[in-house]
Amino acid sequence: MFKNFLRIKLLQPLILIVLGILLILLSRSAIGSALRVPFSYLFEPVSFTAQNFSNSLSNWGTALFDASAYIEENEKLREEILEIKSKETSVINHEEYSSLKANEALMVTGGEYVLSKVLSFSQKGDIYINTGIKEGVKVGDSVLLGNVFVGIISSVDSSGALVRLPTNRSSSYEVVILPSTVNAQESIKLDGYIKSTAVVTGVLEGIKIENIGINSEVLDGDTVVLRDERIGQLLIIGRVVGLSNNPASTSKSGFVSPIFDYSNLLTVFVKIK
């Protein structure tokens, strides 16, 4: 009977639509995350390999297309390496180790962190990292690099997680603005330095900052520091740029220039506790 039922042509896509809706509803429940685990366990190695292949192919393509610039850069780097080698040999041998140690020094103390590699970047405002449930990562964990805020975990699998960046249009955080002269990395009482509170949201052009007090003395280049209950710690987002100067409005707005280009991130830290 089911075979005959399936033969009605128009019913076949309707079955797929109903199945799709049911699966979407199911994925929003607790069963959904349980359903993800076996599939991710089976198929994620395949997807990682395919993405690595495409990345290396893309890199080769870019390199071939821009070969002269690469040769020039290579020569410059060789000269720099020779110069550094002549001063200190260990710097070259432990380059990655040193950068990680530097990150560790900047890291906000009092927490447990998981080192994660960035696998891919999406224009929508997400990055995909290689740590997941196995490492103790869960939805809502904050992702940072040093004391700079990178994003929040929005979905998690057995060995991977999706990080929602501040550039994502569904991201919205409470922030404070500090003068550019204040070093937010130092453990000082920041309350006395706050120029204004504000709200940052992800927009198509980047990160928008709004609700800055009209009488505040906020200037372009001031530091934007995250102070949101959901994150629970002070983390830098970037610097204020393109501040509006409309005397008719009740608040100032502008954009935030992130500390680093999110598409160039290689390593991040997930705060799991």
């Binding site: 075979k3 399936l6 033969r7 042509k9 128009l10 076949q12 896509p13 309707l14 079955i15 797929l16 639509i17 109903v18 199945l19 799709g20 809706i21 049911l22 699966l23 979407i24 509803l25 199911l26 994925s27 929003r28 959904g32 359903l35 993800r36 599939f39 991710s40 089976l42 198929f43 994620e44 395949v46 997807s47 390999t49 395919a50 993405q51 292949f53 495409s54 990345n55 192919l57 893309s58 891919s120 929508k124 997400d126 995909y128 929005s154 979905s155 699998d157 991977g160 999706l162 929602r164 994502n168 249009r169 569904s170 198509l204």
Partner: protein, 165 residues
């Protein structure tokens, strides 16, 4: 037994190629295969294969589970409606309807992903629209090639039997 084996290998190969092509050009093999396999393979094979492939793509691409199946269902429904409304013997109209279905798939995929994952409507920049159109056009060209390939080995009236002359 052979169908199960082909299905399992097919899922792994399709998944690999989908990720490879999607991260390189934003090209989706899923809709190309499904639209070209539609009516050419039995329902007993089609439904489990695309259900499993759709779920595994949703999981590995970190999308809500069921998104690929839902969009495929809508795309196929529109394709059937086009097939019913447009003349049967005209190949040009068939490929135009295919182009429309591919465009719809890419468009809906981005829209529903944004809506389900972030709760916001996606903004389509000119860059995205050009990419969608180029990928859809490429999919139609590949479909024409697949159609030609099938017509050389299979009977045009029944894809179950091999063409002898």
């Amino acid at each position: 037994m052979l169908e199960i084996l082909i299905g399992i290998i097919g899922i792994f190969v399709s998944l690999f190629l989908e990720h490879f092509l999607f991260s390189l050009f934003g090209f989706s093999l899923f809709i190309l295969i499904s639209l070209n396999m539609w009516g050419r393979v039995s329902n007993r094979f089609f439904f489990p294969f695309f259900l499993l492939l759709g779920i595994s793509l949703d999981v590995t691409m970190h999308q809500p589970i069921g998104l690929h199946i839902l969009v495929l269902g809508i795309a196929l429904l529109i394709y059937i409606l086009f097939e019913t409304l447009l003349p049967d013997d005209n190949k040009v109209s068939k490929y135009i309807s295919m182009l429309f279905v591919f465009l719809l798939f890419y468009f809906l995929n981005l829209l529903l992903l944004s809506l389900l994952q972030d709760g916001i409507l996606r903004i389509y920049t000119s860059e995205i629209l050009i990419k969608i159109f180029a990928n859809s056009l490429l999919s139609v060209l590949l479909s024409i090639l697949v159609g030609k390939l099938f017509s050389t080995v299979r009977d045009s009236k029944s894809y179950q039997s091999i063409r002898l002359k």
